[in-house]
Amino acid sequence: AAEPWPENAALYQQLKEEQILLSDNASSLAVQAFLQMCNLPIQVVCRANAEYMSPSGKVPFIHVGNQVVSELGPIVQFVKAKGHSLSDGLDEVQKAEMKAYMELVNNMLLTAELYLQWCDDVTVEEITHPRYGSPYPWPLNRILSYQKQWEVRRKMKAIGWAGKTLEQVLEDVDQCCQALSQRLGTQPYFFNKQPTELDALVFGHLFTILTTQLTTDELSEKVKNYSNLTAFCRRIEQQYFEGHDKDSSTTVAARSAKRSLLR
């Protein structure tokens, strides 16, 4: 039975100012955007151990009523079961396309973000290691950080990204952005008038890339090359993240997302 959406639904992620990394921030923002688009209120709660609380080990996860759901895919399905959906108006072919593009974003953008923050030595030293374990005392912070790095590098090796250089990764990002830009064209959203979960996902990633300060600007430059993508991000930000009075999710997300993640 579909229960109504409770008022105290909460989204958990890592600490915004000190701890959260590029890829997790992107995923979290995507979920927040999606929920905003569905008009479902959500509070963002920051916890240092959010990753460990999550049922799948990944952030963000939402706590609604007495259920806990993590990651955008399952959250979309969960929300659909409650009776809210953004993609009902699409026909079968469009739904297939939407899924394909979401996979493209996950495959290319998310993996590139993970690569940058865990496999690029400069970024790892200067940004990732200090941030990831920051809530914990030494030596736990180092241990957790190395453990996570080892895990991510193993995965990269399995899918064949370990051998890539940074230039190749940036080129892949560029190709992905080009595809997204071409698909978006001059429309306001990917499926014309109404935003869907694809728009939320793309927004989450692109906005994070654009507003995060890393050791170099190359990643955000790649996105900035495509003006319709930056306009797209601005549009969604204005529509869904500003002009809200509650200080919980929305303005905080917009404000702190603008600030750099560099300590």
Binding site: P55, A100, E103, M108, C176, A179, Q182, R183
Partner: protein, 290 residues
């Protein structure tokens, strides 16, 4: 990957000579398929495709920008959703592996490599599946398997919906996406395994079956009877069918005829012959790169 590349080469009209090599070691860096053109050696399917495109063998010339973007997206979908199940069917599923893949593979490569290489590829496949799909809340291999097959079936359904009633994914002429889809679907469709849940699902989608058959008959001149040149002695008739599918004669230039759409970029052009070296018995999953 091999069938993908051959399909692409057919679609774009590139002259390819296919060399079978008996040992994966001989391929530079141990990677197959490998493209050798003059002195350049390229070893991953995506890079080979890029190379072919730069040499003006472009099957996507007439696609719009949006269709090009769609191609990338669908390829990502295939890699993410279909590839794990494919790897599993070929390399991890115990019955399939022991009765079909391993003997097939091992028969084509030299001893003692045949003892080592199939096992290695099987382990790598399992590794990849577990690392990319195996995190919590899926804690056991059976749960992971159930999930990847669900995803694969959903992916097949999505492809079927996208294909609809048209002959190829973007109209009447084949493109990169068709090559990719064919490369993934053909092994599922044609190889006879003891455990065939994916194949059964595929057979319920008639337009995808028709798509595979069309490409096979038009571009690979596959006939029901007929031996692959080179006369391998295969015990299993089904394996022979797949052999015919992917094992081509050394001179493929005669295949460039009116059936292939000529890309406007390459009218009469004297080009270097590109040698595509393929290893083993062309299990399309010789190398686990997408």
């Amino acid at each position: 990957p091999q069938s993908l590349l051959q399909a692409y080469a057919k679609f774009s009209g590139a002259p390819l000579t296919l060399n079978t090599i008996n040992s994966s070691w001989r391929a530079p860096k141990g990677d197959v398929p490998v493209l050798i053109s003059e002195d350049i050696v390229i070893s991953q399917p995506a890079k080979i495709l890029n190379f072919l495109r730069k040499q003006k063998y472009n099957a996507d010339y007439e696609l719009s920008a949006k269709q090009g973007a769609d191609t990338l997206a669908y390829i990502a979908l295939l890699e993410e959703k279909l590839l794990p199940a494919l790897l599993h069917t070929f390399w991890v599923e115990a019955e399939n592996y022991c009765s079909v893949t391993k003997p097939w593979f091992a028969s084509r490569i030299a001893f003692p490599l045949s003892l080592y290489l199939p096992g290695k590829m099987s382990r790598e496949a399992l590794n990849r599946i577990l690392l990319t799909r195996g995190g919590p809340p899926l804690y056991s291999l059976t749960e992971v398997e159930a999930q990847i097959y669900r995803d694969a079936k959903e992916c097949l359904n999505l492809l079927s919906k996208r294909l609809g009633t048209s002959q190829f994914f973007f109209g009447d002429t084949p493109t990169t996406l068709d090559a990719f889809v064919f490369g993934f679907l053909a092994p599922i469709y044609k190889v006879c395994f003891p455990r065939v849940q994916l194949q059964e699902h595929l057979k319920q989608l008639p337009n995808l079956c028709r798509f595979c058959d069309d490409i096979l008959t038009c571009y690979f001149r596959l006939t029901v009877s007929g031996h692959s040149p080179g006369g391998q002695d295969m015990a299993d008739a089904n394996l022979q069918k797949l052999t015919q599918l992917v094992n081509k004669e050394s001179n493929l230039i005669e295949k460039m005829d009116d059936n292939l759409r000529k890309s406007p970029q390459h009218p009469p052009r004297k080009l270097t012959t590109l040698k595509l070296a393929a290893g083993g018995e062309e299990s399309p999953l010789n190398r686990l790169s997408p």
